[in-house]
């Protein structure tokens, strides 16, 4: 352990701690910085985090300094503030200050640091700022504005160190230096939008989010990505019922500071025009009252098979199992929603909760198996989520049967359902997903449910086996499921609940 004094405050940190991080601890906020990033190597180029260490003649950058026992550090005195101000001024002299048309405005490092350390009268008399290329498409997801760039090199280091793809480089030198790609090369990897996240200014912006919304209008909901079994921690940025973007939230145990581009685009499904927005039977829209009666009638006549899906939450699947009351339950199709994995975060399993099915002991079926089980089933088939009828064998088996489907989109299963009931998408409900490590993580509701969509568990609560003793709230449902599973589901840790022996994370930044 090293004991040091920062701004008169004594703190003790582990040996080998970066002075930058020790300062964050002591100050309660990070030093001004652009180039430092905890999940990347140290570049030491923005020169903003300079602090005064007693006994050292020059100011030193905290990001490349390791703490020493007895260090006395000043981060707020006149000399340090002046240096930060001077460096900031240098950062701004060739900056175009085009904030009104910049997507980064409102969450921009330059704007924030200027409010904190700048506020000087501009000394810049030069009419001829260095002009560089603006709005250059450098890949399918990312657009580059070279004038706004502060050359912190975070994006370059990300592509070198995290993805190992190395598309970006800094070309030329002096104040002509600029980020770029080699001729014929595009910033085209499944993690390219992370460069936009870590860009402290408006140099790299997302083509998807560009000009869609001023960022200060957005509200954020902390949730998890449902695009695959990794369960990257995300922030859903939304306004007035509409989602505008997903951003990764740092969880060293799961996704480090990153998430993949595929995962980011999953929000589009929430606002898809093929959403199932009201109950329907035989192509006719129903009110929930009518639909409820129809459901009661079908269920009353007997259900022969319940089919869940790895897309549903742990609570929903637990309730489905309870609703079955001993009748056969399938976890859905084992072969559905599989794809190519990559070496970083994207899992081959493109469902968020297959591990949840395992936790409940509900097995999945191959298409032929499921078709066989449907054929054998006496009575109706209740399907929760997924799209089993996308498999021809299953669709054939379901033909002519009484099928209740709870789902979010007008897919093949919804088409052949006797009664189709609109469930809530992942962004419209809360719940728990179990990722590939076996880690239980919370999904949180960001936006209001579209149309007449209802939380899936409330729909399941209408089934006869549950109806008499339906949970009053999601919390009550969690308590009941938790008691049954021997887990405290009502109080998950911020980084998720990892059962003993969970697989080590594939990526964890500097965890």
């Amino acid at each position: 352990m090293a004991k040091l004094t920062i701004d008169g405050k004594e703190i003790e940190v582990a040996d080998g701690t970066r002075l930058f991080d020790a300062c964050t601890l002591a100050r309660g906020e990070a030093l001004p910085h652009f180039c430092y990033h905890p999940d990347l190597s140290v570049a030491g180029v923005c020169r903003l985090c300079q602090v005064e260490v007693e006994g050292m003649p020059k100011l030193t950058i905290a990001c490349n300094t390791t703490v020493r026992d007895g260090m006395v550090v000043h981060t707020k005195n006149e000399r340090v503030r002046k240096a930060a101000q001077q460096v900031l001024e240098m950062h701004l002299i060739n900056h175009p200050v085009d904030c009104p048309i910049c997507d980064q405005a409102g969450e921009c490092g330059l704007q924030n640091q200027y409010m904190e350390y700048g506020l000087y009268d501009s000394e810049v008399e030069e009419a001829d700022k260095v002009n560089k290329k603006k709005a250059q498409v450098i890949g399918p997801q990312v657009i580059l504005d070279k004038e706004r760039c502060v050359l912190c090199s975070r994006c370059v280091r990300f592509c070198n160190e995290v993805t190992g793809t190395g598309e970006l480089g800094i070309y030329n030198r002096g104040d002509r230096a600029e980020i770029g790609t080699a001729p014929g090369i595009e910033l085209d990897n499944n993690y390219s939008l992370n460069t936009v996240d870590i860009c402290p200014v408006g140099a790299l912006t997302s083509r998807d989010f560009r000009f869609q919304k001023r960022v200060w209008m957005l509200k954020s909901t902390e949730s998890i990505c449902t695009g695959c079994a990794t369960g990257c921690n995300v922030r859903i940025d939304h306004e007035a019922g509409r989602i505008y973007r997903l951003k990764p939230r740092r969880n060293a145990e799961v996704n480090g500071a990153w998430m993949c581009d595929k995962g980011r685009m999953t929000y589009k499904g929430v606002h898809d025009e093929k959403r199932l927005l009201s109950p329907a039977a035989g192509g006719e829209r129903l009110t929930w009252a009518d639909a409820g009666q129809k459901l009661a009638a079908i269920a009353g006549a007997g259900v022969g098979l319940y089919v869940g899906s790895a897309h549903q939450t742990l609570e929903e699947l637990w309730l489905l199992r309870r609703a079955a009351a001993g009748a056969p339950v399938s976890g859905g199709l084992a072969n559905a929603d599989r794809g190519q994995a990559d070496a970083l975060l994207l899992d081959a399993d493109r469902t968020p909760n297959r591990a949840g099915l395992s936790l409940l002991g509900v097995g999945e079926d191959e298409p032929a198996q499921l078709a066989e089980r449907i054929r054998k089933a006496q009575g109706a088939v209740v399907i929760l989520g997924g799209d089993p009828a996308a498999e021809p064998a299953v669709a054939e088996a379901l033909g002519g049967r009484t099928v209740v489907y709870v789902g979010t989109h007008r897919n093949a299963t919804a088409q052949l359902a006797t009664l189709a009931l609109p469930g809530a998408t992942w962004a419209e409900k809360a719940g728990i997903m179990v990722n590939r490590q076996g880690r239980l993580q919370e999904l949180r509701q960001a936006v209001a449910r579209a149309g007449d969509a209802r939380e899936d568990w409330r729909i399941l609560a209408e089934l006869p086996a549950v109806r008499g003793d339906a949970p009053a709230s999601l919390r009550a449902l969690r308590q009941a499921a938790g008691a049954d599973l021997g887990l405290d589901l009502t109080n998950l840790p911020a980084s998720g609940l990892a059962p003993a022996g969970a697989a080590a994370p594939k990526t964890g930044g500097d965890a």
Binding site: V42, A43, G44, V45, C46, R47, L48, Q50, K58, L59, I61, N64, A83, Q86, V87, E89, M90, H91, I93, N94, E123, V124, E125, E126, D128, V130, V150, L151, S153, G169, I170, N172, R173, G174, D175, R176, A177
Partner: protein, 435 residues
């Protein structure tokens, strides 16, 4: 004292056969290497060079033997680099060493590599010195053929490979870590320290980088010993040093002088004073990056690290630029500011933006578009650069800028008060040179 009294480093300068192995050997060449390899341990060599007090000749003046001692004991692989990226404006001494006497540097390099237990040495030659690459490569080939390089050198069991590497022409690659990055195939720009190259340099291994003149000084120290080396120079600046002198003096060129030599004597007796019709105005004594001294100040200095340090400048690389009264100091600083603006690698913000900004302000002044506030602005920009960057390039730009302004302020003020300079007329009409 005259130039011919001091020929430790420059014995073969000016001759057309000094670069040949046979000539070098006939004049005692590779004797030091034999001495080292027939009984001296690496630590003995380090101690001898440390005792001689040899200070790095690239500019910083850091004791060479001490630097060698920074390599961690027991390192499995150590690299040795000779820095021949001589690109400090006004400096052309290493070029002479390699051109006229490449074997002296090669022998010094072999001994220095042995001292730090390196088995692979690079000579990094400035890209613009194309002919030198050939000259040095030929000498290296000769040394291999004679058994001074390669496996089991002179039967000692010591192996050393030597690679002559040509830079691509960037001032910043003369900085140690920039040089390492350049050889490693990365963009030639400095790395943050720590780690220092002596601990983690080329390919992450301990790496020592020495200036050409530093390693060329080593054979003499081995052959003639510490006492002989210390016979010249001062207590803290022992030995001789090469100065490359440019400007309108009667005898410009490369001189080997005993450190501590009064500038006045060097100027009057060795250089022969100014050419007819010119008067000494100022001197940049150690390459363009050191503060300029007006004639009356430099005349009281001795040419050694301490005396020049006390006078507020630095001995630097020994690239001495003589400035005559007829020179326009603002024009000169514009040339220099263009140089640093052009050569900044662009990595650290204060340097990247500051060098460009200073250049613009000085350009504006010379166009007659300056304002009285501009001189304070220059100070302001300098304050935002000095000491705030990874490598000293920002300081290298700030030191001449500040000193030109401090010592020759009236010439700057005259540009602001009138549209024409009150001082000497420039050889180039203002605004025509796009520097």
């Amino acid at each position: 004292m005259s130039p011919n009294d001091y020929r430790m480093l420059s014995a073969r300068f000016g001759r057309n056969d000094g670069h040949k192995l046979a000539v070098y050997e006939a004049e005692g060449g590779y004797r030091a290497l034999r001495t080292v390899l027939s009984g001296m341990k690496p630590v003995d060599v380090r101690e001898q060079v440390k005792a001689a007090g040899l200070r790095g000749r690239g500019g910083a003046g850091f004791p060479t033997g001490v630097k060698w001692g920074f390599v961690p004991e027991g390192a499995d692989q150590v690299y040795f680099f000779v820095n021949a990226d001589e690109s400090e404006p006004g400096t052309f001494k290493d070029r002479y060493l390699l051109d006229y006497d490449p074997h002296q540097t090669i022998e010094g390099t072999i001994i220095s590599s042995y001292a730090v237990r390196s088995n692979l040495a690079f000579i990094y030659i400035r890209g613009e010195f194309g002919w030198l690459v050939d000259r040095v490569q030929k000498a290296v080939d000769e040394a291999y053929a004679a058994g001074y390089l390669g496996k089991n050198i002179l039967g000692s069991g010591y192996d050393l490979e030597m690679i002559v590497h040509k830079g691509a022409g960037a001032y910043i690659c003369g900085e140690e870590t920039g040089l390492i990055n350049s050889v490693a195939g990365r963009k030639g720009q400095p790395s943050i320290k720590p780690p220092f190259p002596a601990v983690s340099g080329f390919l992450g291994k301990p790496t020592i980088i020495n200036n050409v003149e530093s390693v060329a000084s080593v054979p003499f120290i081995i052959n003639d010993g510490v006492e002989a080396y210390r016979r010249n120079g001062t207590e803290k600046s022992p030995g001789t040093k090469l100065f490359s002198v440019s400007g309108p003096v009667k005898r410009p060129g490369v001189y080997e002088i005993p450190l501590g030599l009064p500038f006045r004597d060097f100027f009057n007796d060795w250089l022969g004073g100014m050419v007819e019709g010119e008067k000494l105005k100022a001197v940049i004594v150690g390459g363009s990056s050191v503060p300029v001294l007006p004639a009356e100040e430099i005349m009281n200095c001795n040419l050694d690290y301490e005396s020049l340090g006390q006078a507020g400048t630095m001995l630097g690389s020994g690239g001495m630029i003589i400035i005559p009264e007829s020179s326009d100091m603002v024009e000169l600083i514009q040339v220099l500011m263009h140089f640093y603006f052009d050569e900044s690698c662009g990595q650290c913000t204060p340097c990247r933006e500051g060098t460009g900004w200073l250049h613009k302000i000085v350009k504006r002044l010379r166009k007659g578009e300056g304002t009285p506030e501009d001189l304070a602005l220059i100070e302001h920009v300098c304050a935002g650069m000095a000491g705030l960057t990874i490598c000293p390039l920002a300081d290298a730009a700030v030191m001449p800028m500040r000193s030109f302004l401090a010592k020759f302020r009236p010439e700057f003020e005259a540009l602001i008060q009138e549209t024409a300079p009150a001082g000497p007329q420039s050889r180039w009409p203002r605004g025509e040179r796009e520097n």
